[in-house]
């Protein structure tokens, strides 16, 4: 009997148990893996965003029991912002995660050509290759709610107070990380410079020079620009702010993209950074329903990795908004396909059909945290716009109404760049069914 139990009954029971439990588990959860970086030279700016992303998913699981009953199995694969490691993470997780979030423009550019074959949607909110917004060409890539070119357009509109012609004769410098991310706005700003007659100069900062930007700021001192725009990340932001203070560059003429607007970076210079501005497509609303729920179900429950005092930070709450995109896309796909557990392909449809209007943002408790926008098969960004945030010495405050990008300025450029990309990577499938 013992032998019979060992040889037949136990394996049979185990097999039955496996058959009963595995499908149940699989039906109840979907894997969402973030290609995160909590270590390395860019951890300082990556970590708060990852914390926000993670906490939103944990809150959805704890408060609602998942998305319509489907739990989110949130995982992270550490890339250290290293492109090679990022590609490794992508290859390792593409079979299980319903979405890939590369978290680096360099990694995004590497995995972009694979997306048509692997059929995993790339979600790159507010980063990546700007023409990815063209959904006809980039069927699997999404950069909601607004692209780098949108960001550049909004910054130029803001510094010219809505009159771009007033920039004629001015000098604008772009201080940028010497990486694909930092170089992203160059063609557009150059196009603006050609059209409106201002002088544009790009000044790169190498990764090894992030903490020691004295050469770049000596150049700025020599060139005497009217404005310095910054596409910085990680320690580059603090390095630049410290040098700007040292050089006595007027802070209100120093404007960063949304990844150069981290509270922690500005706290490093404190009062001296007062006046510095950063365009942002998200805004922290700590009293909003969603943030209070995160506080209740995740932070107070001891489940968060968030350091104390960082709950109000722009980057943390931006991470929350980013995870919301995935959850809302899941909900849309569940309804459309009449299913509970969505696949990567179904999620792609959901990301292409986001409808985040004022009413819906109010319903999910996120009013004011992100501008309303929607996506479509042709528009994978939404071009939502953003607000100019200004550092008041201790925190970021809104210093503008909602700014909208001047998309018609670069619609042709976007189309041309998308077509160039498709040509360089042919055969590249185009979604001909999608009407622009």
């Amino acid at each position: 009997m013992n032998a019979l139990t060992r040889k037949c009954l136990l394996p049979a029971l185990l097999a039955m148990g496996t058959m009963l439990t595995l499908p149940a588990l699989a039906e109840d959860s979907v894997n969402v893996t973030n290609l995160s970086y909590r270590t390395g030279p860019f951890a300082a700016t990556g970590t708060p965003v990852m914390n926000g992303q993670r906490d939103y998913m944990l809150m959805i699981n704890a408060r609602d029991g998942g998305v319509n009953g489907v739990k989110i199995d949130y995982q992270e694969c550490e890339t250290g912002y290293n492109t090679e490691k990022g590609v490794e993470c992508y290859e390792k997780t593409k079979g299980q995660s319903i979405v890939t979030q590369p978290w680096s423009t360099g990694i995004t550019l590497q995995v972009l050509p694979k997306s048509n074959i692997d059929k995993v949607p790339i979600l790159a909110p507010g980063y990546g290759f700007s023409p990815m917004a063209d959904g006809k060409t980039f069927q699997w890539a999404f950069n909601p709610p607004t692209s780098y070119w949108d960001g550049a357009s909004m910054i130029l509109q803001d510094i010219s107070k809505g009159d771009l012609a007033s920039l004629k004769g001015k000098k604008i410098v772009l201080l940028h990380l010497d990486a694909p991310y930092g170089k992203e706005p160059i063609p557009l700003i150059q196009a603006y410079a050609d059209k409106y007659g201002f002088t544009f100069q790009a000044i790169p900062v190498g990764v090894k020079e992030m903490q020691n930007q004295s050469a770049q700021w000596l150049q700025i001192r020599r060139e005497k620009p009217d404005y310095v725009l910054m596409w910085g990340w990680g320690a580059m932001n603090t390095g630049a702010l410290t040098e700007a203070v040292k050089t006595k560059f007027p802070m209100d003429h120093f404007v960063g993209i949304w990844w150069s607007g981290s509270d922690a970076d500005l706290k490093a210079v404190g009062e001296a950074g007062k006046g510095y501005r950063s365009i942002s497509w998200s805004y922290p609303e700590s009293n909003s329903k969603v943030m209070q729920d995160i506080k209740k179900y995740v932070v107070d429950a001891g489940q968060s990795m968030l350091p104390k005092d960082e709950f109000d930070y722009v980057f943390y709450q931006r991470g929350v908004v980013i995870s919301m995109f995935t959850v809302e896309a899941m909900k849309a796909a569940q309804e459309h396909f009449n299913t509970k557990v969505v696949t990567a392909e179904q999620l792609r449809w959901g990301l292409e059909n986001l409808k985040l209007d004022d009413a819906h943002l109010a319903e999910i408790g996120m009013t004011g945290m992100v501008p309303p926008f929607s996506t479509s098969c042709a528009d994978h960004s939404g071009h939502a716009g953003g607000w100019m945030l200004q550092w008041d010495g201790t925190k970021f405050v809104k210093s503008s109404d909602l700014l909208k990008p001047e998309t018609e300025m670069y619609a042709e450029l976007s189309k041309t760049e998308a077509a160039k990309y498709a040509e360089a990577n042919k055969p590249w499938p185009i979604n001909e069914d999608c009407k622009m």
Partner: protein, 319 residues
């Protein structure tokens, strides 16, 4: 012809036409150079005594700076936090000697080098676990480091010298002077040098390998803390500080891996030359960001003629 003018004439004309700016460039180059020298010294000391190229020097800078800031965040007064951080670096030195180096005595150099990569990975994970990855503000004011600037108007222009940079340069010079005195005038310093010359001979006259290794790793820890304070004051304290260790590599190639004067002169030379090249040739002619490669090219040229570096000892191997 125009290119020749841009390379051979214009940079010098620019220097002459704006001498205040040239002085600013030289000052910034000197500050960078002294700081590079400081990082390089950490490598040199360990290499001299144990023939180990310490890959962990960069992460030690991060770990020391994070410990200092972290302790202060927990209410420890600034200078007490400095002392406690030195205590942490001493514990780290003892732990490295006991756990990593001692079991690997007599192993090939490459094994010891790989072990320091292991130490790096451990400290990255351990540091992340304790301190988190967020950027932190260096406690510059609390340590009494002045944050204002001295401004001069040479030739009717402007020369701005940050008091923090001046403090860093003075501090680094004092630290280096103390180190040189320690290495040359004390019994322990002579033991370290003896061990660097010949392990077997040094041990045969009673020099304790394990004690020296602890002392040397502790000194490297002190240098790491000084480096962390200075660089942390410039761009905050985060894991990004680890990257600055790479700037020491061309300094070591130029000055020689086992030469203290080499590290100092190499550091200052690279700091000055790369800044001059970037401002007067790199930015106008090559689009800038030449500092990422200039020092390596310079070091490679030196290696072509002196493989042991300018101040390194010539290696003679009998086959």
């Amino acid at each position: 012809m125009d290119l020749a003018y841009q390379i051979l004439v214009k940079p010098f004309a620019d220097m002459v036409s704006a001498p205040d700016f040239l002085m600013q460039v030289l000052w910034e180059g000197l500050v960078s150079g002294v700081l590079y020298a400081l990082i390089a010294l950490g490598f040199v000391l360990i290499f001299k005594s144990s023939r180990v190229f310490n890959f962990a020097q960069g992460i030690m800078v991060v770990f020391a700076a994070l410990s200092l800031v972290g302790l202060h965040e927990h209410g420890v007064p600034a200078w007490l936090a400095v002392l406690l951080t030195l205590g942490i670096m001493l514990v780290l030195a003892v732990a490295v000697e006991r756990v990593v180096l001692r079991p690997l005595v007599n192993q090939p150099d490459i094994i010891l080098f790989m072990a320091t990569i292991g130490i790096t990975l451990f400290l990255v994970g351990f540091g992340e676990l304790i301190f988190g990855g967020e950027n932190k503000r260096m406690i510059t004011e609390q340590l009494g480091i002045p944050t204002g600037s001295f401004e001069f108007e040479p030739f009717g222009g402007l020369l701005s010298i940050q008091q923090a940079d001046l403090t860093a340069v003075v501090g680094a010079v004092v630290l280096v002077a103390v180190l040189i005195l320690f290495l040359n005038r004390t019994r322990m310093g002579r033991a370290i040098r003896a061990l660097g010359d010949d392990h077997q001979a040094a041990m045969s006259v009673g020099i304790s390998l394990s004690t020296i290794w602890v002392v040397v790793w502790f000194i490297a820890g002190i240098i790491a803390l000084a480096t962390g304070i200075v660089w942390g004051a410039r761009a905050g304290v985060s894991f990004a500080l680890e990257v600055i260790a790479y700037k020491a590599l061309p300094v070591l190639m130029l000055g020689g891996l086992e030469s203290v004067p080499g590290a100092i002169i190499g550091g200052v030379a690279i700091g000055l030359l790369e800044k001059l090249f970037e401002i007067y040739w790199g930015q106008p002619l090559l689009g800038g960001n030449t500092e990422t490669w200039f020092a390596y090219v310079l070091a490679l040229i030196v290696l072509l003629f002196r493989p042991q570096g300018i101040f390194g000892e010539k290696i003679i191997e009998r086959v």
